[in-house]
């Protein structure tokens, strides 16, 4: 299985991480912006308030004329640096100040009204935003004091842009870091997954690579490698046990066969009766050796030892070949043997063992199906496996006996001839298991249907 970049835990984590960074940076810069903006406004308001206070004080001391003088003085001394003054009567007509006419429609409702003022500056016309406050002087005249806030506005705009850039860039940086991080993580995990799959597929000598980073992945890989070492060691021990068992049983059988065969060369030649019994004994030895080989094969498969040197086997083609091999024998028995193979039904396996599996199933059918019967071998490709079916219309196996039928030395029915080893289906089950496949015995209504699913 190949992991997509976006369905790994790492990529989900990195997306979450990016969102978190964006949120954190956004909150930090956003509140800094809001704080700064209110600080600037407060500062402006403070200046306006102190100006108003000093002008009101002037009014209290020297009346309208004093305030007018003071305003004119301040306009002169401050020039265009941003202070706006206006003294108006109760009908909003200008008495003094650097504003030509009352900027509001009557009395402004807000405490700090804002308006725009147009000025002629060298070479161009400019519009300045102004923040102001209005006081009604005793006597009904109105005093307006304002400050040009265009600088503050510009600063706020720049701050806003900077904030947005900050959020954008840190999001990008977090996303890139997250992507890189999850890519590296996914790659290492995928490397581990791929190696494990190859090991499962039979490359038992392979080990997980260590990055040399001494991180948790290396620690994990090292642990897995230790487990694999141990498994390989056990498989080796098992193999050696099987080898010596096979050797220790086959060698005396070989000597026995040799002695018997040497008798046949006796000169002068033996009597026909003696010859006959020696030949019969030789057949028994051969039968014994076949049973032994089958038992060892079953034991080896059941021990969980891996399938050695698997390769691509076309089960469809193999089934067709074996059916063709058996067809004359079946024909001689009056049994129809058909094959419905699907081409390119490839599994990773051992051709000889799969051929043995098919042979046993066909021979099993030939043993039980009476003349006039039919055996059908079918191979079908499924989504991720190959389904091999051998069905017949013979006597079948009763449902309650099916589980037992794959156990060694179990035979059913009168059709079972004594020369069978009783190991046929056990070996089939063992070979299926060795290929990580599944064996199912079903009723063929009437007859037996054996279904073997082998992972492709």
């Amino acid at each position: 299985m190949r992991l997509g970049l976006f369905n790994t835990t790492a990529s989900r984590l990195s997306v979450g991480y990016t969102l978190l960074v964006t949120l954190a940076v956004g909150v930090t810069l956003g509140s800094a912006y809001l704080l700064t903006e209110s600080l600037i406004t407060d500062e402006v308001d403070l200046i306006i308030d102190s100006e108003l206070a000093s002008l009101e004080e002037k009014f209290a001391r020297s009346g309208l004329a004093g305030v007018t003088d003071e305003i004119n003085l301040r306009i002169d001394s401050w020039g265009r640096i941003g202070a706006v003054y206006m003294l108006a009567d109760s009908s909003f007509e200008r008495i003094a100040g650097n504003v030509t006419h009352w900027p509001f429609d009557g009395m402004p409702s807000e405490a700090r009204p804002e308006f725009e003022i147009a000025t002629i500056e060298p070479g161009r016309r400019a519009v300045h935003p102004v923040r102001a406050a209005v006081r009604t002087l005793p006597g009904g005249d109105l005093l307006l004091v304002g400050t040009d806030i265009s600088q503050g506005r510009r600063f706020a705009a720049k701050f806003r842009v900077a904030t947005l850039y900050g959020i954008g860039l840190s999001t990008l940086a977090a996303a890139l870091a997250g992507f890189w991080f999850s890519y590296r993580l996914a790659r290492r995990v995928e490397e581990v997954t791929r190696t494990c799959q190859r090991i499962m597929a039979g490359e038992w000598g392979r080990r997980l690579p260590l990055a040399g980073a001494n991180d948790e992945f290396d620690a994990l890989a090292a642990s897995v490698n230790r487990v694999l070492d141990r498994l390989e060691e056990q498989a080796g021990t098992l193999r050696a046990t099987f080898d010596s068992t096979a050797h220790d049983l086959r060698a005396p059988l070989h000597r026995l066969r040799t002695r018997l065969e040497a008798l046949l060369w006796h000169s002068p030649p033996l009597e026909p009766a003696a010859r006959e019994s020696i030949e019969s004994a030789l057949r028994e030895v051969d039968h014994l050796q076949r049973t032994l080989a089958t038992l060892l094969q079953i034991a080896l498969a059941e021990s969980g030892a891996p399938l050695a040197s698997p390769s691509a086997v076309d089960v469809g083609a193999l089934a067709a070949e074996l059916v063709e091999l058996f067809e004359p024998v079946a024909g001689a028995q009056g049994v129809a043997l058909d094959c419905r193979p699907e081409s390119a039904a490839i599994v990773q396996g051992n051709r000889q063992l799969l051929a043995q599996l098919l042979t046993n199933l066909i021979e099993n059918g030939l043993k039980y199906v009476p003349a006039g019967g039919r055996i059908e071998v079918a191979v079908r490709r499924l989504a991720d496996s190959v389904r091999l079916t051998v069905s017949d219309n013979g006597p079948g196996i009763a449902a309650e006996n099916r589980a037992r039928a794959v156990q060694p030395f179990v035979r059913f029915g009168a059709g079972a001839k004594s020369e069978g080893s009783g190991l046929g289906l056990s070996l089939v089950a063992a070979i299926a298991r060795l290929h990580r496949g599944r064996l199912e015995l079903e009723s063929n209504d009437p007859g037996l249907r054996v279904v073997v699913d082998l992972p492709a």
């Binding site: 000597r255 040497a262 060369w265 076949r290 040197s309 091999l325 058996f326 004359p328 063992l353 042979t359």
Partner: protein, 224 residues
């Protein structure tokens, strides 16, 4: 023909030596791996028959050493290890044939004969035994000029026999060579296939070409 037998099982060896000598071979015997390797590298042999599991130097190691020294003498491996992988390992190491113990002496003899008389060169395009002719390119077979109808598998079986004309070919050799099956099915499959082929080739002929060799297998040859 000079055969080197490397076998540590003295009784089995004695039997093989006797049988091979009676069949017309000259046999040298080595009872362990080291002696066998020494003998194999020093002497001139037409064939080496070695056991797989030997004291001191293993049978497969002997083959690897020989092949490493570019000694191409055909090697037949005898083994008490009979699983499919053992066989593959034996052939991978450079062995030319692999026989699992216990075996019939006739089987060994047929295989030795096959190794000593390698089948006719692969570039040959026509095979001919008496009046039986096989055009390998056109996949056409004629007997006394009359064309025979054979299936693809029968053609393969016949080619195997004709390339080894005059040699005894056992049932397991046919299963391995024609069907690539390295185990013994219980049924008499080969006999049935041979009898079909015989029907096609020898029916109505005064000179049957396919002969049964009792206790061994079959031979295709011209003499009666």
């Amino acid at each position: 023909m000079h055969v080197l037998l490397i076998e540590d099982d003295i009784e089995a060896a004695r039997f093989l030596i006797k049988g091979l000598c009676e069949s017309g071979y000259t046999v040298d015997h080595a009872a362990d791996g080291r002696a066998g390797l020494l003998r194999a590298t020093e002497g001139q042999f037409d064939l080496i028959v070695t056991d797989r599991m030997l004291p001191q130097v293993d049978g497969l190691a002997i083959i690897e050493q020989l092949r490493g020294r570019e000694i191409g003498t055909p090697v037949l491996v005898l083994s008490a290890l009979g699983s499919v992988d053992d066989r593959i390992r034996g052939l991978k190491a450079g062995g030319d044939d692999y026989l699992t113990k216990p075996f019939a002496f006739a089987e060994l003899l047929a295989r030795i004969e096959a190794l000593l008389r390698r089948p006719s060169a692969p570039h040959v395009t026509r095979l001919k035994v008496e009046d039986l002719e096989f055009d390998l390119l056109a996949r056409r077979v004629t007997r006394a000029g009359r064309e025979l109808e054979l299936t693809a598998r029968e053609l393969k079986l016949l080619e195997f026999l004709m390339r080894r004309a005059g040699q005894v070919v056992t049932r397991t050799m046919l299963l391995e060579g024609v069907w690539d099956l390295h185990f013994d099915p219980q049924s008499n499959l080969i006999d049935v296939h041979i009898s079909r082929l015989r029907q096609a080739i020898d029916r109505g002929s005064d000179h049957p070409l396919i002969h049964t060799v009792r206790g061994s297998g079959y031979v295709l040859r011209s003499d009666g």
